[in-house]
């Protein structure tokens, strides 16, 4: 039972990080109808910046710088690449994000090389015992931070002008424009926030039990894509639910892998995609998605 609880707690932690990434993915989609496949690259960038500047400025400042740089790079890519070609087909824009992803990832992979960089998290590899369940302090902090940020973000969707404008523009861009909503501005803010969230997730995804920053961080972050899709691509609630479902499923399959050898080793890696496919077969629009994803 305690092992189960341990897997569950670790899964929730991983899932809340996936949710942070998936939320960024979803708000970008809502604001600009682009599937941003460069999101994993943003994550890698955030981690890299933090790891590089941490030795000289300390952890807290490094995280702030990492978040700022990632947010600005996300904003810059939107301003330079995507907002200029708004008339292009959405599919072309999505492929452009893939190009951006390859570009950033290749460069960072070269820079990181074969080393494992540390982001210098002050909690290191400490382990906390919670009622008989062991969990790394990193994972526990992740849950707290992720839920605070997600709470703030959800409040922003509901109560700020930006949030209302984002939801209005996602539903009916033309009517929103007629009400004086500037979609370009709403979109710019969305990219900023999404970039910042990716950097935050990077801090915890590179912490214990993960040894540190390796280029394959991007692949780990990719699990957030099926999370966003199974939740319903245009739903923030869906991103949260999808992230948690994928995180818990992955953690449970990894934890019980010795009992599941008939599935082959490392099945947990594909679990997010299997779950996504199962959900989509039953609910094509995702758990919380709106039925018609094709807007006119």
């Amino acid at each position: 039972m305690t092992t189960f609880l341990s897997f569950l707690l670790n899964g929730l932690s991983l899932g809340s990080l996936y949710a942070l990434i998936a939320l960024g993915f979803v708000i970008i989609y809502k604001a600009s109808e682009i599937l941003n496949f460069a999101h994993g690259a943003f994550l890698l960038l955030g981690a890299y910046v933090i790891a590089r500047v941490e030795p000289s400025v300390g952890f807290a400042a490094a995280v702030a710088i990492g978040i700022a740089v990632t947010a600005l790079v996300a904003l810059a890519s939107e301003q330079i690449l995507f907002s200029r070609v708004r008339s292009a087909h959405v599919a072309s824009l999505t492929i452009m994000t893939l190009g951006l992803d390859v570009l950033i990832t290749t460069d960072l992979t070269r820079r990181i090389g074969s080393s494992v960089m540390s982001l210098g998290q002050p909690w290191g590899a400490d382990v906390v015992r919670l009622g008989g369940v062991n969990i790394s302090e990193n994972r526990l902090t992740a849950i707290g931070v992720a839920f605070v940020l997600i709470g703030l973000l959800f409040a922003a969707f509901r109560f700020t002008s930006w949030g209302v404008a984002l939801r209005a523009a996602a539903e009916d861009p033309e009517a929103a424009a007629l009400m004086g909503i500037r979609q370009a501005r709403v979109g710019a803010v969305a990219w900023l926030i999404a970039g910042g969230l990716a950097a935050v997730a990077a801090v915890f995804l590179t912490g214990s039990p993960t040894p540190g920053l390796e280029p394959n961080l991007r692949t780990i972050a990719f699990a957030a894509f099926p999370a966003a899709i199974l939740g319903g691509l245009d739903s923030t609630t869906g991103a949260l639910a999808g992230g948690l479902i994928v995180g818990v499923a992955e953690s449970l399959f990894a934890g019980y892998s010795s009992d599941l050898t008939f599935l082959g080793g490392g099945f947990s890696v594909v679990v997010p995609y299997v779950v996504m496919m199962l959900v989509l077969v039953v609910r094509p629009a995702g758990l919380f998605g709106t039925k018609e994803l094709h807007r006119v």
């Binding site: 209302v164 939801r167 009916d172 929103a176 424009a177 007629l178 009400m179 004086g180 909503i181």
Partner: protein, 310 residues
């Protein structure tokens, strides 16, 4: 502040001319009705005023649109709102997944001051008590009439000096249409000019000071609303069956101007509807039987007999 449209010519995709040489004026404090059948260019005119042409791959070739002396041509829709011109779009277009209150907030996005927003919201709730009762509900759950109220309220949140409405009576019950007419008068009394684009001529000319009739992208008639209402053309074409028409219309969807005279006419829902032979004496509306090009379409119904070829 007055709206002045002069010599306006608009072309879609570089080839389809939707408006030609339109002259139109909405004076300060006026209510102006713009009538016309489908494809007459009413919506295009509104797009030209609200800066939405670009979205529809259209542009102004010639002419001017000014509000308070400043050009609105090529302005961003948000700038048009900031200058005090706001549109209640056709089909209401409320944000269905947002609550009533959030819809109003979306309408007030150009308003910086929280106090002003709150004050306008209370005013809208005062004008439409039903919206206040349902402030927390998703707009998609409102009835058609309530959605139209919300669409009007949402537009008022920006504090417009000129309110544009695109067929607000579309698909609504007669008493709600009457109510909308009263609401527009009230809004106007409080100092907002109104430009009302309608097919329901009875209501539109009932509340308006002046009116224009568009046909095939041109202004075919204009003058004081009372005179237009008294004129024979308008009486037989728009007022004769004016009321029933508002509800009839939804059924076949958007016939889109050049649908061809013969196609889908029977589906309009009018019992035993006037077919080609009888169309001459009782044209319901020229949209089902597009008038021959180049003539004043409203009067051209006689020619339909010829058009209804076997």
């Amino acid at each position: 502040m007055e709206l002045d449209v002069s010599g306006l010519q608009v072309t879609y995709a570089g080839v389809i001319r939707a408006l030609r040489d339109i002259d139109l004026r909405v004076g300060t404090g006026e209510i102006v009705a713009v009538l016309g059948s489908n494809g007459a260019g009413k919506t295009t005119l509104l797009r030209a005023i609200t800066g939405s042409l670009k979205r529809h791959r259209a542009r102004v070739d010639k002419g001017q649109v000014t509000f308070g002396g400043r050009s609105l041509v090529d302005a961003h829709p948000a700038d048009v709102v900031n200058r005090g011109v706001v549109l209640v779009p056709e089909g209401r277009r409320v944000f269905g997944r947002l609550s009533v209150e959030e819809n109003l907030k979306a309408g007030a996005i150009s308003v910086r001051s929280r106090a002003t927003r709150a004050e306008r919201r209370e005013k809208v709730y005062g004008m439409f008590p039903r919206l206040a009762e349902r402030s927390g509900q998703r707009a998609a759950l409102l009835s058609g009439g309530e959605q139209q109220m919300l669409a009007i309220g949402r537009a008022l949140m920006s504090g417009p000096r000129l309110l544009l409405l695109d067929e607000p009576s579309l698909g609504l019950a007669p008493q709600i249409v009457t109510h909308i007419g009263e609401v527009l008068r009230q809004i106007n009394r409080e100092g907002t000019s109104v430009m009302l684009v309608e097919q329901n001529a009875a209501m539109a000319l009932g509340v308006a000071d002046n009116g224009y009739v568009l046909e095939l992208g041109r202004v075919e008639l204009s003058g004081p609303a009372a005179e237009l209402a008294a004129s024979d053309d308008i009486a037989s074409l728009y007022l004769g069956r004016g009321h029933a028409d508002g509800t009839d219309r939804e059924a076949p969807g958007k016939p889109g101007g050049p649908g061809g005279p013969g196609s889908g006419v029977g589906g309009s829902g009018s019992p035993g509807g006037p077919k080609a032979g009888t169309a001459a004496q009782q044209p319901t509306l020229s949209r089902w039987t597009p008038p021959p090009r180049g003539r004043f379409g409203l009067l051209g119904a006689g020619a339909v007999t010829g058009a209804g070829r076997p």
